[in-house]
């Protein structure tokens, strides 16, 4: 059971990579050097990039921004989401607002964020965090609401106080669903941070991409994108493994 749950997402990832590589090569044959670089050449470009000195300061910048954005999204999202889940009325009021916020393209808010935080680290962190926090709120709220009522009745029969009720029953019961929210929240925080770096920024992976686009530097665009995809996939697979383990007994 354990080996299966470990192998399955890995196999999925391999199949996905193979399909994407084939499609990529096909697209290259069709569109040529002007539009993109072929897979094999991109891999060697990416390896060069990993060995170059100019790359790592940008990685560090983006890494710091994502880490801070994620910390805000996780802490804020969990406390807001779990509270809304416990307090039914607030949850019902907040839900349509959250869904509306979730569905608007947040790039429309970016000028406002830049005016508030100025160009630089705080703006990217804020932009990453507002992407990640909403799914974490929605998932944790629903996780709380969907706790089977019989668990709550059982806790009352066992005369649990508020603290043991929260830590011994509510949190473990909600955990699998909350974790799914964290997984989605991570992916969106990364997207938000990179988007934030693409506009009004002077450092970071997003900035690197934007500058390369400006000078039609296909080699940089393709190799940076490949590394980003690899990173996001690896983290996703790792989180998915944990996610499936948590859902196994649910």
């Amino acid at each position: 059971m354990v080996t299966r749950s470990l192998l399955r997402p890995l196999l999925d990832a391999i199949v996905l990579v193979a399909v994407v590589t084939l499609a990529w090569q096909g697209l290259y044959e069709y569109a040529g050097d002007v539009a993109l670089t072929p897979p094999l050449e991109t891999v060697s470009l990416a390896l060069d990039l990993l060995g170059s000195a100019r790359f790592w300061p940008h990685v560090r910048e983006t890494g710091l921004a994502v880490a801070q954005g994620l910390a805000i999204a996780v802490l804020g999202g969990l406390s807001i989401g779990l509270t809304l889940g416990i307090h039914r009325l607030s949850g019902e009021v907040a839900e349509p607002i959250l869904v509306a916020l979730y569905s608007i393209p947040k790039i429309t808010l970016y000028p406002v964020i830049l005016l508030i935080f100025g160009i630089g680290m705080p703006a990217k962190v804020a932009f990453g965090a507002i992407h990640g926090i909403i799914p974490i709120i929605i998932f944790s709220m629903n996780a709380m609401r969907n706790i089977h009522p019989v668990y709550l009745k059982t806790a009352r029969v066992m005369r649990l106080g508020p603290l043991p009720l929260a830590t011994r029953v509510l949190l473990p019961a909600a955990l699998p669903e909350v974790f799914t929210g964290l997984r989605v929240g991570f992916a969106l925080t990364l997207v938000g941070t990179l988007m934030g770096e693409m506009f009004g920024s002077q450092r970071g992976i997003g900035f690197m991409l934007m500058r390369a686009m400006g000078s039609h530097d296909m080699a940089t665009i393709m190799s940076v994108t490949l590394l980003l995809v690899l990173f996001a996939t690896l983290v996703s697979v790792a989180l998915l493994v944990v996610d499936r383990r948590l859902h196994r007994f649910g």
Partner: protein, 274 residues
């Protein structure tokens, strides 16, 4: 009959209890239960049968202190029940209430640990319960790895290790097949004899009520009231071999004769049920 007559000390007393659920969204309030009166003698095994939706489970939850009565009073061990579950009451629910994130052993130990019972005593009682309920080989399994009957045994064990003096069971075998129900009934009778607890069993199975109980209360369609109280007269050491006894058929028949009309009422429209 002597065992039945010996059990006369009142343990839990329900007097004039009703439950009216306030109407939501402009609908009329629903009168779900009562008024009902019921006296459970210490050490007695009483079942409540009734058509679906008659308020059986509501009665149990009121008796457990899980919801308040609209009117009437409840007394458990000479103290009024209000707002919270009294000490000494255990409840087994119809749904699978085993916590899926804990192993069987952790589930059974859960209430004891939270009540601050010391570690050695917890271990002793849990091991005893695992053996008693035939769960010893599954102590380290998770509920999702067990059958429905075994999961329900986990819930019964988790309740019994707390050594409740009043055990309330809300259709605990509802989701099980007939053979498993009979065997679980035997286990329940054995545990009842060993612990001397007072038992109230809510069930929709008339033969189950007739076989297990000292007394069977028959409830009307909603709002539930007691129509009849049937004394079975079984000895305390009864078990499922009573299925051969012609008296069991006679008791079930009497229960059904009282319930047939009520069940028809419950099946027809809501207007008629009121």
């Amino acid at each position: 009959m002597s065992t039945v007559q010996a059990k006369t000390t009142p343990h839990a007393v329900v007097t004039g209890v009703t439950r009216v659920f306030p109407g939501a969204g402009g609908r009329a309030p629903v009168h779900a239960l009562g008024p009902v009166d019921l006296v459970l003698a210490r050490g007695e095994f009483v079942s409540v049968v009734g058509p679906s939706g008659c308020g059986k489970s509501t009665l149990l939850e009121i008796l457990a202190g899980l919801q308040p009565p609209s009117q009437g009073t409840l007394v458990f061990e000479d103290r009024p029940v209000c707002g919270q579950v009294p000490d000494g009451v255990g409840v087994v629910f119809q749904e699978n209430a085993a916590f899926p994130w804990l192993t069987v052993r952790e589930n059974i130990a859960f209430g004891l640990r939270r009540a601050g019972v010391d570690g050695a005593e917890v271990a002793r009682r849990v091991e005893h319960a695992l053996g008693l309920m035939g769960l010893a080989d599954f102590a380290r399994s998770y509920p999702a790895q067990l059958s429905g009957g075994m999961r329900q045994r986990v819930c019964i064990a988790r309740t019994l290790v707390m050594q409740p003096r009043l055990v309330l069971l809300d259709e605990p075998f509802g989701a099980l097949d007939q053979q498993t129900r009979l065997l679980m009934g035997d286990e329940l009778l054995r545990l009842w004899r060993e612990t001397g607890a007072t038992v109230l069993l809510i069930t929709h199975a008339l033969d189950e009520a007739a076989l297990l109980s000292d007394r069977v209360a028959v409830m009307s369609a909603r709002p539930g009231r007691f129509l009849d109280m049937v004394e079975t007269g079984w000895p305390a050491d009864r078990d499922s071999r009573l299925v051969e006894d012609p008296r069991l058929g006679a008791i079930s028949a009497r229960l059904w004769s009282r319930l047939r009309e009520e069940s028809l009422k419950a099946m027809s429209t809501g207007e008629a049920a009121r």
